[in-house]
Symmetry: C3
Subunit: 338 residues, 3 copies
């Protein structure tokens, strides 16, 4: 994990060594089988949501309680205020407090700090820097966990890798198709960035299919190719869903917004109007090799994927969601030595 001057944090799964990642996935499976309870008695896990959440909030707080600790939920809308992130600034603007001070102070009260930062949403080059969560990480003296930034969603990828392992018995050597889906409210690309890099690292051969104009972040893609080369796995990127799905053991459906249109809703809507056919249905799934369906949720039914495949025997969407709970328990136990 990232070493700040004082503390290890989890901003992306690259912050875990290869052995650590594999061990964590195994620990997650054990946690699920044994429904382990306890270990965090008297410890408090702070959650700071600058954007709303159902799955992450609920699974994280339940995980903390099952381990005996207390999840303390801070909501940006009501509980706190704008925070300054720049070093050395004269704070005569809206923000009455610096992230440095908030992070130092919360580190005195909490045993772990999980954050979903806000997105500026103006331009991708700015958002992709993850400035806010990196400022929190710089100053926090307790482990900091990224609950989805602009660039990464490590908690989702951890549950995803656990789900693949659980479904296929192993990860390495299998084929994963990541297929873009149509949505009027597309998700960020954070889930796909974390999914792609951790997949190739663990030995999955990955095909990505998306309409033109929906390229993933270039730097993340470069990093994923480097990892793939080292790991002996492969990445193919194309514009055909059918080609991507062919022979896949997993079809992973996910909407994401165009990074080119990031911060331009008019362009984004115009581009989306041409992609209505990007829906996962039985015909597409049938091209795989007994392909399982994954989706991180929330899913727009009959728009991203049909009821038939979502409720069919090869859908793993609920196991995948449940695995958020178990893998987060394993992660918390590791970070806090429970």
């Amino acid at each position: 994990m990232v070493e700040s001057t004082r503390q290890r944090h989890l901003i992306s799964l690259q912050d875990l060594g290869d052995d650590e990642l594999s061990t964590l996935i195994e620990a997650s499976l054990v946690m699920k089988a044994a429904a382990t309870r306890g270990g965090l008695e008297g410890r408090t896990a702070g959650m700071l949501f600058f954007r709303g959440s159902l799955r992450t909030r609920t699974s994280f707080e339940a995980a903390v309680h099952q381990l005996g600790g207390h999840g303390l939920n801070l909501n940006a809308a009501t509980d706190f205020w704008d925070l300054e992130a720049r070093s050395g600034s004269v704070m005569d603007g809206r923000a009455p407090e610096h992230i440095r001070d908030a992070a130092e102070v919360l580190s005195r009260y909490l045993d772990v700090l999980a954050i979903r930062p806000a997105l500026e949403g103006r331009d991708w080059e700015s958002d992709r820097r993850d400035a806010s969560i990196r400022a929190w990480a710089e100053h926090a003296r307790v482990p900091l966990i990224n609950m989805e930034s602009a660039l990464w969603h490590p908690l989702q990828a951890l549950a995803d890798m656990m789900t693949v392992h659980e479904a296929l018995g192993a990860i390495r050597g299998h084929r994963l198709a990541i297929v873009w889906t149509h949505s009027p409210t597309p998700a960020s690309s954070a889930v796909v960035h974390s999914l792609l890099t951790s997949s190739v690292r663990l030995g999955l051969d990955v095909s990505v299919a998306h309409p033109s104009g929906y390229d993933l972040d270039g730097e993340v893609l470069g990093c994923a190719r480097d990892i793939a080369e080292r790991s002996g796995s492969s990445i193919e990127i194309g514009h055909s869903r059918e080609e991507a799905a062919t022979g896949a053991h997993i079809v992973y459906a996910r909407s994401w917004q165009s990074l080119e249109d990031h911060g331009n809703p008019t362009l984004a809507a115009s581009r989306r109007a041409r992609t209505g056919e990007w829906i996962i249905d039985e015909a597409l799934l049938a091209r795989g090799s007994d392909a399982r369906l994954m989706h991180a949720g929330p899913v727009r039914r009959n728009l991203e994927a049909t009821d038939e495949v979502l409720d069919g025997p090869r859908s793993m969407i609920y196991e995948q969601a449940e695995n958020r709970l178990h893998s987060q328990k394993a992660l918390l136990a590791k970070l806090l030595g429970a």
Copy 2:
């Protein structure tokens, strides 16, 4: 309780068998006497409030903690989003998630799910269907508890029946007067619907008094009359507070909105302007037979009832409120096998 394909839920007290209801009231009294703690260690109870709450929120979360579990509070205003309830719809509108999926996913994280659904507030025929909470119940794989829908408020009625039993030593054979009260912000009729049907079921003779235009839901009333006939109790409905209160052992004060004006604030205000005399005072209470006063709260003092009766020796409003805690503990212990 209602059997979905997978799980028992508590939408109304009719979901409990006669023996179950009686046993639960006795268990509530025992819970109050013994201040039982523990039994839910490691379990998480989710609360989803789509409308605000003070009493229900606080008593429910305290009940869960006293039993050793964790109450996880999700607030619609900040924590989640519009949910789709219709089956098979193409989800290209505002709602990014289907209740089916939210219910299935939350069932993986939580051990029980308590919901106060939103009211559409347009027309009664639509709201009375309780479509949202019934959709949650259809898909939840853990026990679902209704924290007040358009039609029912079983948790209040459970505390109410416990309070009657506690105050009078028994329920059957006593007389209950339900008296409408004036309020600029009338409550829904859910409390009265649950109170009426559970009262006649347990053998109370009930008189209801309200101004014209404030009839209770016809179907609920028919159901209550059927129950009364089976149970050997009686229901009288009239427009005279004095007649209703005469000989009553309990006077239960409650404002409710006119179902005819549901969704029409102008008509509702105009109708209310003619009902200012509907206040409970000592003179009215004196018509009873050593009558106790009940009110589910919040109460508008000196508008719904005078300070004199609310703070007088026969007021049971605080015991009634406290009993929410004990009866919910008994219910949770029953539902979760604690």
Copy 3:
């Protein structure tokens, strides 16, 4: 502590006897050293925030959990409604519930009630009466803790006195300078009122410096002078930061709004425009006697105090913040007999 007819409360530190206050500070230091856990199992502490909070919310909820209890957070924005405070009023206005009833009911569910009341913000003579929290205290049957009213912030002062004791080895006989600082969003004077009165009570010699027009509340000041006389300590008030800081062992930086402009933002802004030089820097701190810096936070960096002094070796701002946790644990243990 204040004796209502039924219950002791903590509205200000004057509600504690001299021995109680000293014992509490010692208990806080022991609590910090020993990281005591447990004692509040099964107990619920309600927090009612009518204004936002980061430090108080987080430290209080963590304190409750470390003692084994549950912190239940109620937020005025989403969880409840306007409350009536006047006795005997006919409640036909906005408020659907009386503080009397809310306090009585919550006392049935909770074991302690901590409140940060709203400020009217119209005129100081009205706000300084602390009418809302006093109405809560009058009716609560469980201990009520003031989490910052218009007039007092006893939890901050308790941590402050603990911090002084910890830093200097003793309190009596040392010199404290309270220096006003410039801020576009000045805090209330509650922190300074509690700091001043508890400082002189425990034997600190206090110098206060502020620009003209920023006098502290006259009645609080009179009360502090009486205490100082009894205690053998001293109070000096002036307009020179340099004089106040000279020889001080502690420089306590704090912005506060002018009570004269309370409720008049235009006048307040105009007055503030002339005070930009009121910043704490190394030159000012150097006038003290190895002076330590304290600030209750949130602090506007390089406006109220420079990065150099805030991050320097004599800054105690993080210890001071951390001590909120330990002193609140000691207070809760005392109030609840844990």
